[in-house]
């Protein structure tokens, strides 16, 4: 709760105060930059998602019939690279984070608005390099494992260079957010009054800042190996191929948490509003974000249990992996307890938040299978891992992202979404997702290896089911996209605070004015004070 916020504001909103290409391309307004990211990542999400539909269609039958094996390999490389580096890493953090951090902490903008625009331009440069890379796309998988990535004739350099540039965008965004959260909080906005979404993005920003340089350097080493013939990873020249995997996962495992922690933050915002209850275990959730961020630096080699690392290393990393499961479990239980004795409203955003709880639990629990050494030997590099990973990334992050879009849409665009259409889309997305990915757990246990352009006939029925699921999922996405675009034009005008939320971003106009607040609010309580005391 805060005082000093004006109920009615007559100034033009940030969307209206200026128009034209230049007003967007040179904008330093965090809200507009958030929209630029939102549009960009959505484009990549649609491209990478369409690629997945083609891959699933190819896998409808065991033989190659729609695309050649080489093309299939290119497709899964692009699907992974685009989804990970161009959509999900910048996803919630850069788009929603930019829009929401200053609004939620009661600031007028981020700490370094020009740097913020610069970060977005870097993202665009990375995307432009990627377009050139598509002329002769790489076939290495998004993991770029050496020696294959050093030997293949396809264009690995441009794709990795694009990701290298994106890395700077991510680092600078992280830096900007850390400084913003430290220095720009409104009076009275103490650390323990911060919305949990901010705690989550703070933890994420630390990971972005500290882990991303490692993948940047690793990809540079790979480029040096390909162009200059320096054998960092080439055993013939004294290098070590497994070293690449260590470097790569030293970033990419924390990156998994760069992807999931912001979604956890979203859930912590949506659940209390639609339950009319304070978040349960605020400190437990806040500190577990930080704990996950820290421990996530020490679990990378669980991707390498069968890669040729020593048994001692495997044992240590298995143990550390189980450690990271503890704060994750704590979060799930606290979210669940938030619902207890609430007044639960099934808004479409809430449906996504509840789906997150359900699907992320599946993703988390199946993580225990692959964390246990003996089981991982069997499951590693099979469809089980593919399913586990998608349950965390789609069931977790993307559900959180969709929930956030439906939740903050009125604030962002000043229009209400069609909630009925939102629920119909949710239904297709939820069913389609499960039909697509749940069979893949069984495929994996039965031994179906991942990244196979063709497969043995015994896997055919489950593969067909998975492909059918991808169509249902696509239908849901199309309905959702229609709703999001249609509502921009014909949506009802949104009130300033349609859900009676206590959080600061809802205390200003929808959409917010250029500098967010008429006067900087003074915060007197946390933003989860729902329900009656005593």
């Amino acid at each position: 709760m805060a005082t000093g916020t004006a109920a009615t504001i007559s100034e033009p909103s940030f969307l209206e105060y200026k128009s034209g290409f230049r007003s967007w391309f040179y904008t330093t307004d965090h809200k507009r930059i958030g929209i630029l990211y939102l549009v960009s990542i959505s484009i990549f999400f649609i491209i990478a998602g369409s690629i997945a539909i083609v891959m699933r269609a190819e896998l409808f039958t065991p033989e190659s019939n729609i695309v050649s094996p080489h093309t299939y390999n290119v497709l899964f490389t692009l699907h992974g690279s685009l989804m990970v580096f161009f959509f999900i890493v910048p996803g919630i953090s850069a788009s929603l984070g930019n829009f929401l951090i200053p609004l939620m902490i009661g600031a007028r903008d981020v700490a370094f608005p020009k740097l913020n625009l610069g970060s977005y331009w870097l993202y665009l440069i990375g995307a432009a390099i990627l377009l050139f890379a598509l002329l002769e796309p790489a076939d290495t998988g998004w993991t770029f494992y050496t020696p294959y990535s050093a030997k293949t004739n396809t264009n690995v350099i441009l794709l990795t260079l694009g990701i290298f540039v994106l890395g700077f965008s991510s680092i600078l965004t992280g830096l900007n957010f850390i400084v913003t959260i430290h220095k720009m909080r409104a009076p009275g906005m103490t650390w323990h009054r911060l919305p949990l979404f901010i705690w989550a993005l703070y933890s994420t920003a630390i990971l972005q800042l500290l882990a991303t340089p490692v993948v940047g350097i690793t990809l540079l080493l790979l480029i040096a190996e390909r162009t200059l013939g320096i054998g960092f990873f080439d055993p013939d020249k004294g290098g070590d191929p497994v070293l690449f995997q260590n470097f790569f996962w030293f970033y990419s495992h924390p990156a998994v948490y760069i992807m999931i922690i912001p979604a956890m933050g979203v859930i912590s915002e949506i659940l209390p509003v639609f339950s009319r209850k304070p978040i349960f275990g605020y400190k437990a959730i806040a500190y577990s974000s930080v704990a996950i961020a820290i421990i996530s630096f020490f679990v990378w080699a669980h991707h390498l249990f069968v890669a040729g690392i020593s048994e001692t290393a495997a044992i240590i990393f298995s143990f550390l992996t189980f450690l990271v499961a503890v704060p994750t479990a704590i979060k799930v239980f606290n979210w669940l307890a938030t619902l207890y004795k609430g007044s639960i409203q099934f808004h479409s955003a809430m449906l996504y938040a509840l789906s997150f709880l359900f699907l992320f639990t599946v993703g988390g629990l199946t993580g225990l299978h692959v964390g246990a050494l003996a089981a991982d030997i069997h499951l590693h590099d099979t469809y089980f891992v593919v399913a586990h990973m998608h349950y965390v990334m789609i069931g977790g992050t993307v559900m959180g992202f969709f929930g956030a879009l439906h939740f903050w849409y009125p604030k962002w665009f000043g229009k209400m979404l069609d909630d009925t259409l939102g629920k119909i889309a949710w239904f297709f997305v939820f069913i389609g997702f499960n039909v697509t990915f749940f069979p893949q757990f069984f495929l994996g246990v039965q031994g179906m290896p991942r990244r196979y352009a063709t497969y043995l006939p015994e896997f055919e029925s489950l593969m067909k089911l998975s492909t059918i699921g991808s169509w249902i999922l696509a239908i849901g996405m199309i309905i959702m996209a229609y709703n999001l675009i249609k509502s921009l034009y014909s949506g009802e005008k949104a009130p300033d605070n349609p859900y009676n939320s206590l959080s600061l971003e809802w205390q200003t106009s929808s959409p917010p004015i250029l500098e967010n607040f008429k006067e900087i609010p003074v915060v007197t309580d946390w933003s989860y004070g729902y329900g009656k005391k005593g």
Binding site: I330, L336, A374, Y530
Partner: protein, 312 residues
């Protein structure tokens, strides 16, 4: 429906034990969370805009319970996985060694009696075997679901795994680490044979010569060689493009080579391409084929050529 593949090695059942243990625990927690989720959602569904909701911010006892209990269970899972893992990684002293070389996109097995086979691994029932493995070009991974074993093969280092096959039969071997265009065709079979059948196989190739020589025409034999030796990973027989030229209508065709010359594909060119693949590479293809010198016998090469000639 089979939840897990056939368990055909000494520790396969134990790996399944870990899998089931984690699965049952997961299901218990999943049901707990889902039931609460659904129960709360409907029990506390909003009735009016002004529903009474209590101001509950947390509960320290609950926080401790759901930190400590999962921690203990997680440690048990870790320990259980570790115990079975130790067994999977410790080959018995009397394990018979087989040298495995993986290259794009074939498996080569060399046995202690000097024999070598491609894409077919012969092992004796109830006799532990240890694979000493290396990769020639890029990463590969040796994966036999029925034995619950998997290990990457890495250029420049030896990796190993072992298993004791406990059921006679034929099992699929997959390459599980992505290795390029032919990755999904890099398949092999593991034959677990009775001691008698195995020693017959070990002593000579009566079995092979009898099955090959007696009943089959060279073309049929060549067709077997084509599928058994991994040719299919790169060379199609239906005219579709692959890593290497298709075999369809290959014989008698004029191919342009990388050095700009052309050559008519005849028996000698085919034979040379099998034994010294880099000698005359067809334009538009990478010189990536491995040599089959010392792997295929002259009779087998004859049969393969006969098969290629039959693909008009």
């Amino acid at each position: 429906m089979n939840w897990v593949p056939e368990a055909a090695s000494s520790f396969a059942g134990k790996v399944d034990g870990v899998l089931w243990f984690v699965t049952v625990l997961s299901i218990v927690f999943f049901i707990l969370i889902t039931v609460l989720l659904i129960y709360f959602s409907f029990k506390y569904k909003r009735k009016t805009e002004n529903d009474y909701t209590p101001y509950i911010t947390g509960n320290q006892t609950l926080e401790i319970i759901w930190t400590v209990i999962p921690s203990i269970l997680l440690f048990v899972i870790f320990a259980y996985g570790l115990i079975v893992y130790k067994e999977m990684r410790t080959p018995p002293g009397d394990a018979v060694e087989v040298n495995v070389t993986a290259k794009q996109w074939i498996w080569i097995f060399k046995y202690q009696n000097g024999k070598s086979t491609i894409n077919e691994l012969f092992v004796q029932h109830n006799r532990p075997v240890k694979m000493v493995m290396r990769a020639d070009d890029v990463l590969h991974s040796f994966f036999v679901p029925a034995f619950r074993v998997k290990q990457d093969l890495v250029p420049g280092m030896y990796t190993q795994l072992w298993f004791n096959p406990t059921k006679i039969g034929t099992y699929d071997l997959f390459c599980a680490e992505y290795c390029g265009t032919g990755h999904s065709q890099m398949l092999a079979k593991v034959y677990v044979m009775s001691p008698e059948a195995f020693s017959r196989w070990e002593k000579g190739d009566e079995e092979e010569t009898t099955t090959f020589a007696s009943t089959k025409s060279p073309e049929e034999l060549g067709k077997d060689m084509y599928s058994k030796n991994g040719c299919a990973a790169c060379h199609s027989i239906d005219g579709s493009a692959g890593v290497g030229p298709t075999f369809k209508a290959l014989y008698g065709k004029n191919e342009s080579l990388q050095d700009g010359t052309t050559i008519e594909v005849d028996e000698n060119y085919l034979r040379e391409s099998i034994l010294i693949p880099q000698a005359k590479v067809v334009q538009g293809f990478a010189p990536s084929m491995p040599s089959f010198k010392g792997i295929l016998t002259d009779e087998e090469i004859d049969a393969l050529i006969a098969y290629i000639k039959s693909l008009k």
